[in-house]
């Protein structure tokens, strides 16, 4: 279970998050939505441990994620908004490198990589250099990287940005299959698509989190 309490964050004088509080149970997928500049990416980065909040707590399965950072990061899969993969590596080589970096045992790496590639339908692209892939294919690589070690917590920022409907569906199915074992937070603007993978919505507005049961409620909360 991932539990955020009173998370606040400010860039210089601009308050982005103001006591954001929510929780995600194990096996649950929630969608984080909000207008542009609402602070979704900032909140995802805080949840990923990339940024430290000015105040607030994050508990992961009961321990303080901000204090036991390395322990938390071992349980975390993070798919950033951009797709920052190594362009000169092949898909398989990149995933192997990331698996080793995340501390996976050498004998298990091959299995983990194959599993992640299969989950993200990357089998045909295993030996293709990443710079030759399309944006959608790169997003799948990024998701495979996040899923590599079967993380207990998965964060996917702007999951469907720039993705065609077919790929969205594919990514959604992958995520749905995976979310049975983990606490998943996905963010984005595509309410309908997010609604297919998430059981509930978290609406980020004025630095605070509001709960919404479904896409329609989220749209209403957002005022669109």
């Amino acid at each position: 279970m991932l539990e955020a309490r009173g998370i606040s964050f400010a860039y210089a004088r601009r308050q982005v998050l103001d006591g954001a509080t929510f929780s995600v149970a194990s096996g649950e997928t929630v969608a984080l939505v909000g207008a542009n500049g609402a602070g979704k990416t900032t909140l995802m980065r805080i949840l990923a441990g990339i940024l430290l909040p000015s105040s607030g707590q994050l508990r992961a399965d009961g321990f303080n994620a901000f204090r036991e950072t390395l322990r938390f990061r071992r349980l975390l899969g993070y798919m950033p908004e951009q797709t920052p993969v190594e362009p000169e590596l092949t898909v398989k080589a990149y995933l192997k490198f990331r698996a080793r970096l995340k501390g996976e045992q050498v004998r298990k790496i091959r299995h983990r990589v194959l599993e992640a590639m299969e989950a993200c339908s990357l089998g045909d692209l295993a030996d293709t250099r990443i710079r030759l892939l399309s944006h959608g294919q790169r997003r799948r690589v990024a998701l495979a990287e996040a899923l590599l070690l079967r993380p207990r917590f998965l964060l996917a920022d702007d999951l469907f940005a720039g993705i065609d409907p077919a790929t969205r569906q594919s990514l959604g199915q992958t995520l749905a299959a995976f979310s049975q074992f983990a606490s998943v937070v996905v963010s984005g603007h595509e309410l309908e698509d997010l609604g297919r993978v998430a059981s509930r919505f978290l609406v980020l507005k004025d630095g605070r989190i509001a709960e919404a049961g479904n896409a329609a409620a989220a749209r209403k909360a957002l005022g669109t």
């Binding site: 964050f9 400010a10 860039y11 982005v16 900032t42 980065r45 990923a48 441990g49 990339i50 940024l51 430290l52 909040p53 000015s54 390395l70 990061r73 071992r74 975390l76 993070y78 950033p80 951009q82 797709t83 920052p84 993969v85 190594e86 000169e88 490198f97 990331r98 080793r100 970096l101 995340k102 501390g103 990287e145």
Partner: protein, 709 residues
Amino acid sequence: MRTFRLYATRTFGSLATSLTAAFGTALFLAATSYLFVRALVRAEGTVAVLSSIWAESAVATLPCLAAIVTMRIVADDRLSGRMELILSAPISERDYLMGRFCGAFLYLSLMLLAYMAVPLVVLPCCATGGSSVALADFLPALVGLLFWGALSCAIGTLASACIPHAAAAGAATMVCVPLLPYAIYRAAFVCSPSVRGVFPVFPVERFASDAGAGMFSFAYVACMVLGTALALFTASKTIAARRFAGSGGGVLGLKVSTAVVVALGFVFAVMAAVCAWRLDFTMEWPLRSHSPGFSARTRSILADTHGETRATCFLSRRDPAWRGTARLLRGLEAAARDAAGTRLVVDFADPRWDLSTAVRLTRAGVREGTVVFERGRRRISVPIADVDESACASALLRLSLPAGRETVYWTVGHGEFSFDSYDPVTGMSTLARALRRDGYELRPFETAQATSVPDGCGVLVVAGARTPFSSAESAMVDSFLRRGGRLFVLIAPAAPDAGLARLLAGWGVRALPFVAVSPRTLDGADLVATDFGEHDVTRPLAGTAVVFQGAAPLAETTPSAGEKTTFTPLVRTDETAWGESDVTHHPWTRDASTEPAGPLVLAAALESGAGPRKDLALKPTRIVVVGDASFAVDGALSSRANANRDLFRNALAWLAGLDAATAPGTPADVLVTGMDRKARVRMLVFSAVVLPAVLFLFGFALAMRRRFV
């Protein structure tokens, strides 16, 4: 450790297949090799250490290579967004940064090894008959450069962590490592005399030079190691600070704590360096033989003198000359022990630490900054500026000989070269210093105002007279010679008829109106002579070379004195030389009808009435004539380690009746590559063009393979 290894491998792999790195490496090798070959040519024939030249040549260029290989290592991760993945992965910033740094440093080290091929492979291939080159000699220099390279890489990593744009990070590294410190040093050098005294050369160059000679000053090593550690620490904290982007208090705390650690580290580095500098903590490379190679003359003096001699270096340990002097004296001590001659006891007295010795020496009138040689009740002080192997050997020799001094009169008033002048073209002060150390007393002698040569004159020297002596002056010198006088004549350039030409012709020698030229030359204008006559003066010079510049050939004439004179050629050219009548027009070609062919005599000794007069205990007349007065001027003696000085000294010793010609004073470890102009060009092409091109093509092939295969 896992992260460190992964990122080190990854960084090294990226650099090895990077076109930018390959291009940078080629540029580095080309520039450094060019500097090395240029320095090598300049140092030919001097006592410079090859590995020191090699290391010094890379001091300026190594940080540039470091800037190129490190500029992307963190900046690219920031720019591409990969830093987010790195910060969210279960790894520490320190491991990530150390891995990146070590990958870049490993690449840099391999490029240094490639640069090592220039002296170890290219040089022996291009030069024939030069000094032998061994890998072990270069290891200390390599270690010294690795320290410098590590510091450069660490600052490059810091710049890359601070500045997201790779080119700007590279430029910042170049400014921070070689340019800014050098500008500060130059400014301090210009403004402060004390800096000039303590650091006569740029400290990093000195560190590289010392490392090449196998010496590592703890002060420099401490500065470089701590500098590297602080730069990496700051870079690590710069990355960590990204986590605090929205936490004003947190980032302030991190910045303050980092600043405190850096400041403390800086203070510690300065204190360690100052402490090491004051106490002169110096490590010597264990693989290298540390005893300097001494000349045959020095070894001969050490072997021939007996009894105990004490050498006290009365100098502050902070003085820049201390280390070199200490090394020389320790080497002499060891050489004396090996030669089983004099027992040399070396002592060091720092005026600030060894107070009792300082008081004793000061009371005895010894000034600080001297090396004092003591034997029984006799003492010779050599100022630290004059201390070298030759000065020490001369001091030991003088202490072993009786205290009398031979007086040498030096004629003036005919445009002669002066023994008091420091002019590199007409001054002979270097030679005069050596002669005084050998025990001679030099006095000027105005022949125009004298009626006779003074009675105490041991040798009369006419060095490069440009106008003829008057009849009265010639008669005075002739009278001196007939009384068994000794005359040393150096012919002025392009003035064979000046000075005592007429007088000399009467004694059996004349200078021809030509200039000796030969294909055996160092710079095209000079002439290298290695053929020495069988004579006391030149017997010990076998195997050495004397370099002349515009020498007049000498010819034997029939003496008019009515007494038999023995003419002995001292120095001859080889067969390829000839007497050129017009040196102003190039190229020089021999006109067989008018110009004499080699071998030409360039120096000769004349002795009159040696046999019977020796029997009667009378002095025989002796004359030595050298066709070139400029062969012993300051410029000729300082530029190359030739045997010119030894020829002059031995000739003077023979004239003074010492009959004790000494072995050449040329140090045994003179740098000789044996390269002529063609070989130098060949070496430059191979090291500055071919080798960099090969490496670039290799890197290019790897980059293309990565891109297309």
